[in-house]
């Protein structure tokens, strides 16, 4: 639908041509329909333009000559009207056709683009998500795809249609009266000049407005998010007066921006009326001198009236197309990001022991897993999945010059519980990021069951691990579905057993629909502790040999934690567990506690050893023991 909406200036894409052709590639899946659309647009515009021309013959041949006659011969008139009706009917049909076909093309193209974007995004490395804000990524899906949709379904067809119409009108004007057309061209030049001038000023002030909007919105977000702190410090008056200043500035910039945007249409529209007036006058004078007939004037005048609308459309659509292309560019940037590289060749397979006691690959799910290593000579070695993790002098940093881990060495035998303690930023979570291959160590210094971790396929590696993080991240869905996330084909019994293990079963049964209760917004309808229990159940149902608990119980109070401890112990039995925690109670019975500081392991031993050593560990937890 036409509208006052875009006299906004365009955000310029860096390479409009290239981006446009990439978008077109998506649309080419609908080659035939696109061809039909183009044809229909041509027909529709042609009908529109041609129809107005009919005024000339109608007036000149079928009306004026018969003025005053008593029994005029209407047959010619009727057939002319008939032809006109046919032309117009074709036009209407073509208009509907191209709009309908374009709808198919645009919804289909968007679907493809959206799914491509999402699928690709899922394959990107964790580093991408850590370095781009959620807001930024979300706006690809919302803002950028929306404007692209507008461009495909309305922008491009309207632009094409307007260009054809304007060209057609111009051509017809020249055919009707070259002299009057000169007048039109002169006024047109004036109009274009005005459009450019005002457009430029409008763009300048819109940029200013955007800046002010950014400032105001930023302030609003900050203050409202921190509203409680504002109240606690009785800072309301200061905040109000700061806001008033920003509000005034925004109003000022916005008024200027919208003024220029708002006066463009009336100016162009009325220049068009001025053109109409001049044309009528000049035409009348020419007619009096006999250079032109009334039919021509009628046709020509009507063309001047229908001339400005498409012109306006062209400038509006150009703007919105450029904005959409800028958005498309951002989308393509994401699509061009390199996905997670995985050169792993070792896979995880189901295994069983054959008669000779050797490991053999099977199709059936036996509960036993093995690593399938293809060797250079083509043979395959199978080794059992046990959960033996070793770090050998690992040094790592997220950025070039900032080392987070410095020469870390550790050895976790299968079934052992290793705890990491240390202050925030010491590198504990980084270690788990590396075990999971969310980030890679350049040198293969991490070994899993003796295999270089970089050689193991990422998906297979991750299937052998289970993580419970500090942030629960539950999905919209039922409790059952959330627990099942750990093992998509888990039976209901397995789900319930996992929940019982995590001590979540009883509270789940107390929920309104039990296991079928819907969770939304990361489980907002549950308490933090309950969410954590479900996350633990989720990890449990996956039944992995290696378990990583990263501050998994930090949001549970000590009494509740004690309740699930038994479950946690059962969960941890026979598995290699890496635990990161602040609380003494969580780490106390680990086989080894590693104290990290500034990326280095400064103390190592079990609880008694470290207490006896009276080092950092002792210091950290010394408060626990002071009896007053």
């Amino acid at each position: 639908m036409p509208g006052p909406h875009s006299n906004r200036p365009a955000a310029k894409p860096k390479n409009a041509g290239k981006t446009l052709s990439r978008v077109m590639k998506y649309m080419f899946a609908y080659k035939l329909q696109l061809a039909a659309v183009t044809a229909a647009i041509i027909v529709s515009s042609a009908a529109n333009v041609a129809g107005t021309y009919f005024l000339k013959p109608i007036i000149n041949q079928y009306i004026v000559p018969y003025i005053g006659s008593n029994n005029p011969d209407m047959t010619g008139f009727i057939s002319m009207i008939g032809i006109l009706a046919a032309v117009y009917a074709l036009g209407v049909a073509a208009t509907y056709a191209y709009n309908r076909l374009m709808l198919n093309i645009s919804t289909g193209t968007l679907y493809k683009l959206r799914t491509d974007l999402f699928t690709h995004m899922e394959s990107l490395p964790i580093k991408y998500f850590d370095t781009h804000t959620h807001g930024e990524l979300m706006s690809r899906y919302t803002n950028d795809i929306d404007t692209l949709r507008e461009m495909i379904s309305h922008g491009i067809p309207n632009l094409l249609s307007s260009v054809l119409t304007v060209t057609g009108i111009f051509a017809m004007m020249i055919v009707l009266s070259p002299v009057l057309t000169v007048l039109v061209v002169l006024v047109l030049i004036l109009m274009l000049f005005v459009m450019k001038k005002i457009g430029g000023l409008s763009a300048k002030y819109f940029r200013k407005q955007q800046k002010e909007i950014g400032r105001v919105n930023g302030y609003i977000e900050e203050m409202i998010e921190g509203q409680k702190v504002v109240k606690v410090f009785s800072h309301e008056e200061t905040v109000k007066s700061n806001f008033e200043k920003m509000n005034d500035e925004l109003c000022h910039a916005a008024t200027n921006a919208h003024t220029f945007a708002g006066i463009l249409m009336p100016i162009i529209g009325n220049l068009s009326y001025a053109l109409y007036s001049l044309t009528a006058t000049a035409g009348a004078i020419m007619s009096i001198y006999g250079y032109i007939d009334i039919g021509t004037i009628a046709s020509f005048l009507q063309y001047t009236r229908t001339f400005t609308q498409p012109l306006n459309q062209i400038s509006q659509q150009m703007n919105s197309i450029l904005t959409a292309l800028a958005g498309a560019e951002r989308i393509f940037e994401v699509l061009d990001e390199k996905p997670e590289v995985d050169e792993g060749i070792v896979e995880l397979v189901y295994a069983r022991e054959n008669e000779k006691g050797e490991l053999e690959e099977t199709e059936i799910h036996t509960g036993k897993w093995a690593w399938r290593q293809p060797n250079k000579d083509g043979s395959i070695t199978y080794s059992e999945l046990k959960g033996d993790v070793r770090f050998e002098d690992v040094t790592f940093g997220y950025e070039e010059n900032k080392t987070v881990l410095d020469g870390i060495s550790l050895y976790a035998k299968p079934g052992q519980k290793i705890a990491f303690v240390g202050s925030t930023g010491a590198g504990k979570t980084t270690i788990t990021n590396l075990i999971n291959r969310f980030y890679d160590v350049p040198d293969g210094k991490i070994r899993y069951d003796g295999i270089n971790i970089n050689k193991i396929r990422k998906s297979d590696l991750r299937r052998s691990l289970s993580m419970v993080l500090q942030d629960t991240h539950l999905f919209t869905g039922t409790v059952r579905e959330n627990i099942r996330y750990g093992k998509l084909d888990a039976t209901d019994e397995e789900v319930i057993n996992a929940a019982k293990l995590a001590n979540a079963h009883s509270f789940i049964m107390h929920l309104p629909q039990g296991y079928d209760t819907m969770l939304t917004s990361d489980g907002a309808n549950l308490s933090q502790g309950q969410r954590q229990l479900i996350a633990i159940a989720r990890a449990a149902v996956a039944n992995p040999p290696v378990l990583i608990l990263d501050e998994a119980t930090s949001s549970i109070d000590t009494r509740t934690e004690a309740l699930i401890e038994k479950g946690m112990d059962t969960l941890m039995e026979g598995r290699t567990v890496f635990v990161i925690a602040h609380r003494l109670s969580t780490v106390r019975n680990s086989n080894a506690i590693l104290v990290l500081e500034n990326g280095r392991i400064i103390e190592r031993g079990d609880h008694e050893d470290l207490i006896a050593a009276q080092g950092k560990y002792y210091q950290l937890y010394t408060g626990m023991f002071e009896l007053s």
Binding site: T95, N99, I224, L264, L278, G425, R463
Partner: protein, 575 residues
């Protein structure tokens, strides 16, 4: 309903009135132009009167230029009025939110308050601009053009009336059919985007459990649902253009035929026919404009309601009925049979008949499981929430008797969720006391164990914190928040689990500093760790909204089972 917000116009009222006035001026002039053109043709040409033609032509051009002037003015006035309107609403809304109590804030959620101040105001601003311009212009043009047509030739004008009725019913039909389909599409669209956002935030879980393919499938289904819903909704909308063209073309044909015959028969002049053709365009476009504006207004209705909802909200804690001169004398606190519930639910209150007394200068610890009511209890002291039953006394007076800023300047709270604002560390700290000297600031930071890490930053106290304090860790944020509260030199200091991200050794140093520097301040410490409160003058044990016991560490160890349980669970491993 937009009317309710009109007072926000303030000084801009005159622009809001001038806009329609200039619009009307513009329209009237535009309507007359085709009429004069008809005269030129019918009188000027027929009489070969060049003079007449030139005079009339000049008049037309003049009218067009004046219309241009009026149009430009209307654009200017409309911009001033609507931006001024938006400014007024923004100020009113923001100021109102500043008056909100915690309970009011809880009701709305911060995200929705932000949306109301941004997206919703934009929507209302655009709707307002449309109303004062297009909603004035389109109907006036429609009516005047039709009237003009009737004046020129009533019989031929019937064609217009027929076209108008046809087109308006068609547009109305399309709009009503399309609206529910659009709403369905928006719902599906929102839920698709919500699931994308969920995935973004939970990407680690997705990758850790190797669920990428699963998520992709989920998304494909959601995107397909959106595609189908969009198809269904827009199938209706695309009928508009062809129908409009159809109406216009029919008009052209009918006017040509009937008008032509009337010219032949002598009841109509050629020029008049040409002006009719001009009016076709004006009338059809006005109809389209009207529909478009209505759609825009309907879409903004939701925004208007959301803004009014906030403006109408009753503030439940304010400075009415206070004693303006009352000052807080000391840090005594008395709870007298206090019951409280966030949702004003008498049957299941969060706090149930709590009573206790705290002397000025005492250090009091509060211990209890999650949800036992500790935070709720302390938030009643600075009147962040009001009691349901009973009274809270500070400095010997009911908290409701004090001016809010007097009370809150005397009672400092360090909340569980700490917020720092953009600006330097020093600017943030000054929230506690605008006039604090640098030496006072350093003293407070030393007590909060923050001075060391602040001076380790290259720019020290002038370090910029970034939005929300992204440049500092959780433990550092907590210590800065404590320092900020200390700068108030309060009579009562409340620390709500403010050292959870700080290790025990630092925690103990902070408590030591508080003990030494704030001897006269009443200190209330809520904590998970027994060691944080074991040296308090007394400890309150809370359970399920009630005060379970009050005593010293030794007393409670001996007599209170809950306290003992917590202590032992935190001690295990000592052996």
């Amino acid at each position: 309903m937009l009317k309710k917000l009109l007072p926000c116009l303030g000084n801009y009222k005159k622009y809001a009135v001038l806009t329609p006035v200039t619009v009307i001026g513009e329209v009237i002039l535009e309507i007359f132009i085709p009429l004069i053109m008809a005269r030129i043709i019918d009188v000027g040409i027929s009489n070969n009167d060049i003079d007449y033609v030139v005079r009339m032509g000049a008049l037309m051009v003049l009218m067009a230029l004046f219309a241009l002037l009026f149009g430009a003015l209307s654009g200017r006035f409309a911009a001033v009025a609507s931006m001024g309107f938006a400014k007024g609403i923004r100020k009113k809304l923001f100021d109102k939110i500043q008056e909100f109590s915690f309970a009011n804030i809880d009701k709305f959620s911060t995200a929705s308050l932000v949306t109301r101040l941004t997206t919703d105001i934009n929507s209302v601003q655009m709707a307002f601009m449309m109303v004062i311009r297009m909603l004035v212009r389109a109907p006036i043009m429609l009516v005047s053009a039709t009237v003009m047509a009737i004046v020129i030739n009533a019989r031929l004008a019937v064609i217009f009336l027929a076209a108008i009725s046809f087109l308006s019913s068609a547009l109305y039909f399309i709009a009503t059919k399309a609206y529910p389909r659009f709403r369905t599409m928006l719902v599906k669209y929102d839920s698709m985007n919500a699931s994308v956002q969920e995935d973004l935030i939970a990407i680690r879980v997705v990758k850790a459990f190797v669920r990428e393919e699963h998520e992709n499938e989920k998304f494909r289904k959601a995107a397909d649902a959106v595609r189908k819903a969009q198809l269904k909704a827009e199938k209706m909308i695309i009928l508009t253009m062809p129908i409009m063209q159809f109406a216009m073309y029919c008009c052209m044909i009918a006017i040509s035929w009937f008008g032509g015959r009337m010219i032949i028969g002598g009841t109509l002049l050629t020029g008049e026919l040409m002006s009719f053709i001009s009016y076709v365009g004006q009338i059809m476009m006005s109809l389209m404009m009207i529909t478009f504006v209505f759609v825009g207004i309907v879409m903004s209705r939701a925004s208007i309601l959301r803004i009014i909802e906030v403006l109408d909200e009753e503030i439940d804690i304010d400075d009415k009925n206070v004693n303006m001169d009352l000052k807080v004398g000391d840090g005594t606190i008395v709870f007298d049979s206090v019951s409280f519930s966030y949702s004003k639910n008498k049957d299941n209150p969060t706090l149930n008949e709590c009573s206790f007394e705290i002397k000025s200068g005492e250090t009091v610890g509060i211990i209890g499981g999650t949800g036992s009511g500790k935070t709720s209890l302390v938030q009643l002291i600075p009147r962040l929430y009001d009691v349901m039953e009973g009274r809270v006394l500070v400095g010997g007076h009911d908290v409701r008797d004090y001016r809010l800023d007097t009370l809150r300047n005397a009672v400092a709270v360090v909340l569980q969720k700490n917020v720092l604002f953009s600006g330097t560390i020093k600017e943030n700290l000054r929230w506690g006391n605008e006039a604090a000297a640098d030496s006072e600031i350093i003293e407070a930071c030393k007590a909060a164990q923050a001075h060391e890490f602040i001076t380790s930053f290259p720019e020290g106290y002038e370090t910029d914190l970034g939005q929300g304090g992204v440049n500092v860790s959780g433990g550092q944020k907590q210590r800065l928040s404590i320092a900020r509260a200390l700068l108030k030199r309060p009579k009562i200091l409340i620390l709500d689990d403010s050292t959870s991200a700080v290790d025990t050794a630092t925690d103990s140093k902070i408590r030591q500093a508080l003990r030494e520097n704030l001897k006269d301040t009443t200190k209330i410490i809520i904590a998970q760790r027994i060691t944080s409160v074991s040296d308090a003058d007394k400890i309150i044990v809370m359970d399920d909204g009630k005060i379970n016991a009050i005593g010293t560490h030794e007393e409670l160890l001996a007599t209170n089972s809950i306290y003992r349980e917590v202590y032992e669970s935190q001690q295990k491993g000592a052996a």
